[in-house]
């Protein structure tokens, strides 16, 4: 009987050891990232292993040289209908770039672009976690204001992937990122113990109608992290996009979305074994500078697509 008790205790200890809690790494409240205050919705997580600004990381080339993309040689595109995009996307004319929630072809026999090129369908492991929002094929926020898919400030985020990415077919590999920009348009502040909803535009202009529509310049820095035996090789990529419409939040017109991307195989020779990504940005915004003393937040609403 004693032997059994010992064995039983051992078994319970084994169960205890198995309690790894792999799925407890990312837990959220039901209404997470859906606050009425834009500044509460920023996704800011940086995984320790690829946190290149910190000293305690697993990056094997800390002094990695930034790759400045060239519009011509790297076939950089910033719009859905751009020539460079048509060049790198071999099936360009077979896709429709407006519907993005269904995988089924439309009446013209065209397939929605996002849902038919998403990582979530390629491997189930990409379905888990907040990052799955970047991999589910939905290119547009499809909602109002705070219901952005992934919202980042200029410090961005950095996450590792559950699996490594490889080029597996002969088609041209490219990276693509769908996004739009906005500065803070609404804020809830507490005045005298009561929550007050401030419409920034109205407050700024001092009248009942106000608009924050303007143009901004964005400089994107995207780091790819390629897995190797000792950790991760950082591949930083930089590109500037000027005159991006800002705060044109008409959710039913998707004309203000930007599709940024480039061909892999030129300046960026390969992204094989890519197992992480970080996205940051800086901005030049005269309009915002003008009101910066009063409004101190800018955000970018992104929906990232990775094709590889």
């Amino acid at each position: 009987m004693k032997r059994f008790l010992y064995k039983g205790t051992l078994l319970i200890m084994v169960f205890g050891l198995t309690a790894c809690g792999y799925s407890l790494d990312e837990l959220y409240d039901k209404a997470s990232f859906n606050s009425i205050n834009f500044s509460d919705n920023y996704y800011t997580r940086w995984d320790k292993n690829i946190s290149y600004k910190e000293s305690d990381n697993k990056i094997t080339n800390p002094e990695a040289e930034t790759i400045y993309l060239d519009k011509t040689t790297d076939h950089v595109f910033t719009k859905y209908g751009e020539d460079n995009f048509r060049i790198v996307e071999g099936n360009y004319s077979n896709y429709v770039y407006e519907e993005d929630l269904s995988e089924v072809e439309n009446e013209q026999g065209k397939l929605p672009y996002g849902p038919n090129n998403d990582l979530n369908d390629i491997d189930n492991s990409f379905r888990y976690g907040f990052m799955s929002r970047l991999f589910d094929g939905q290119l547009f926020c499809n909602g109002f204001y705070e219901r952005a898919r992934v919202q980042i400030n200029s410090d961005g985020f950095g996450r590792t992937f559950p699996k490594e990415l490889f080029k597996i077919n002969s088609t041209t590999p490219y990276f693509a990122l769908s996004f739009k920009t906005s500065i803070e348009y609404r804020r809830v502040v507490e005045v005298g113990g009561q929550e007050v909803n401030i419409d920034i535009a109205k407050w700024l202009h001092g009248n009942s109608t106000g608009s924050l529509i303007h143009f901004t310049d964005i400089a994107l820095t995207i780091n790819f992290y390629l897995k190797n035996e000792d950790g991760y090789e950082r591949v930083p990529v930089y590109y500037e996009i000027n005159d991006i419409p800002c705060n044109q939040s008409d959710n039913f017109s998707r004309s203000n979305y930007y599709l940024f991307g480039f061909e892999i195989g030129n300046s960026v020779s390969s992204l094989d074994r890519c197992a992480g990504i970080s996205i940051e940005y800086s901005y030049t915004d005269a309009y915002l500078d003008d009101i910066n003393s009063r409004i101190d937040v800018i955000e970018i609403c992104v929906s990232v697509r990775i094709f590889y």
């Binding site: 799925s23 407890l24 837990l27 959220y28 907040f130 799955s132």
Partner: protein, 489 residues
């Protein structure tokens, strides 16, 4: 003369010599189905069908035809239930797990139930071993599920992370992780509801029963196995205990205790009858009141009763204001829904919808999955089955340990499923898998049929078949008798 000899020789060619092989095959199929591998009902059906053919070949010369007729009468309601379920509107739902193969429904359940009856007629079949096989399969499944859940979560996560959600496929999960667990479905581990996860450890709790009948010194291995199984069940339920399963956990303990009490005190006669009648009457009365209370837009005595219930705090809590009754009421109310021309539109089953969701109870969900007539046939089968089971418990020459285990296993399964059977076990899929497609249900049918054979055939079974092992000689049913079991299968 030679012709007569040839005829005699021909008569001697039978398949009963393969009885041991078929018994072994039966145990294999039983283990496979109890293990619920992938809830693959089509595979279960094919296996059951093949096994039934083998059993017919082996037993058709010896089996008593009068018993067969009675068994046919017993089996008839479940066959009709299967047919009506297959024809139900419910099976047309795109999320129905069998898709266009609904015709397998009556095949699987009828064949496997018949297997239980036929195999019981073979002397080499030992119910003690069959139960050990069932419990072992359940234990392996529970162990895998528990390990998978603990690897992903942590003990007592259901209490610690009650309002925490995960993101899946770009969206926040519909339920918090406290309502999730991991389970082996097919050859992959998936997120399932805690209700589905808890079903198997709940059934394992009944493994505590043989511990009160076996003597440790004489049956060390068996004793330790059952002790391990029951501890595994208890540990699984304990580490995943939640508000959702607390009621069913408590119910399982009560049933196990009651079965132990009855079997140890040898209450077989009046006490058993009285308790059965009282519980049955309460259930029936409660059901009638629930049905009347659920009818919206009713008039006359229905309204009077509804007002009385809503005016009484306890009755209102019992029939209206609890998480169970709300979904039951919706299904019962939907049952009498008519269209513009006054036709009842939900009599032959219906899809679960947002307004009328599945109730997590086989009793009420059967109205949805099989229609009112399917429900009635199923109810008839259950009544007949329970009656046979109680007769088996009182009169069979099986050991009290085995009888108590069979009764407890069946009662625990149907009681658990009465309040917590999740028809959509997968968290991130709406695949519909009603109770009649589940492995434990088929095992319960098998045991019902076994009990039916033992009830209908009180005379010792076939003499011509050689016993599998020496120790399989008929056991005298004496009070306090102890099995001398080994596990040399």
């Amino acid at each position: 003369m030679e012709m007569a000899k040839e005829k005699a020789n021909k008569r001697k060619i039978d398949f009963s010599a393969f009885a041991n092989v078929v018994v072994f095959f039966t145990l294999e199929v039983l283990a496979f189905i109890a293990f619920s591998l992938g809830s693959s009902y089509i595979l279960f059906s094919v296996l059951s069908f093949v096994l039934l053919i083998f059993l017919i070949l082996v037993t058709f010369r010896q089996i008593k035809t009068d018993g067969l007729a009675s068994f046919g009468f017993f089996l008839f309601p479940i066959f009709i239930f299967g047919v009506l379920s297959a024809l139900s509107v419910f099976t047309k739902d795109p999320m129905f797990s069998l898709g266009g193969n609904a015709f397998f429904i009556p095949i699987g359940m009828t064949c496997f139930a018949a297997c239980g009856y036929l195999v019981a007629s073979l002397k080499s079949f030992s119910i003690s071993r069959a139960l050990l096989v069932i419990y072992s399969a359940l234990a392996i499944l529970t162990l895998i599920n528990l390990l998978a859940t603990m690897v992903e979560f942590t003990p007592f996560y259901t209490l610690i992370y009650r309002n925490k959600f995960i993101y899946y496929n770009g969206d926040i999960s519909e339920v918090p992780i406290s309502e999730m667990a991991f389970a082996l479905l097919g050859f992959s581990v998936s997120e399932v509801s805690v209700e589905y996860f808890s079903l198997f450890p709940s059934l394992l709790l009944t493994a505590v029963i043989p511990l009160f009948f076996l003597k440790f010194k004489q049956n060390k291995t068996i004793f330790m196995l059952y002790l391990g199984y029951s501890l595994l069940g208890f540990f699984s339920l304990l580490t995943t205990v939640s508000k959702t399963t607390l009621v069913s956990d408590a119910l399982m303990f009560v049933i196990v205790l009651l079965v132990l009490l009855f079997s140890k005190l040898n209450w077989k006669g009046k006490v058993l009858k009285i308790v059965s009648i009282v519980l049955g009457s309460f259930f029936l009365l409660g059901l009638i009141v629930l049905f009347i209370n659920a009818q919206e837009g009713a008039s006359g005595i229905f309204v009077t009763l509804q007002d009385f219930i809503s005016g009484n705090q306890i009755l209102n809590k019992l029939f209206n204001a609890n998480r169970f009754s709300d979904s039951y009421n919706k299904i019962l109310n939907a049952l009498l829904t008519t269209n513009g021309t006054g036709d009842f539109i939900y009599l032959f089953g219906f899809y679960p919808t947002y307004n009328v969701p599945a109730s997590n109870s086989w009793f009420f969900d059967n109205l949805m999955t099989s229609g009112i007539f399917g429900f009635l046939f199923f109810a008839a089968f259950i009544v007949l089955g329970v009656r046979q089971l109680l007769i088996y418990y009182r009169k069979s020459d099986d050991s009290m340990k085995d009888k108590a285990m069979i009764v407890a296993l069946i009662f625990c399964f149907f009681s658990y499923s009465l309040i917590n059977f999740d028809m959509t076990p997968l968290i991130f899929s709406k695949t519909l898998s009603p109770i009649y497609l589940s492995g434990p249900f088929l095992v319960a049918l098998f045991l019902f049929s076994y009990a039916s054979f033992k009830t209908l055939n009180v005379v010792p079974a076939i003499e011509s078949v050689q016993p599998l092992l020496e120790e399989n000689k008929p056991i005298e049913n004496k009070k306090g008798d102890v099995d001398n079991e080994t596990i040399s299968l």
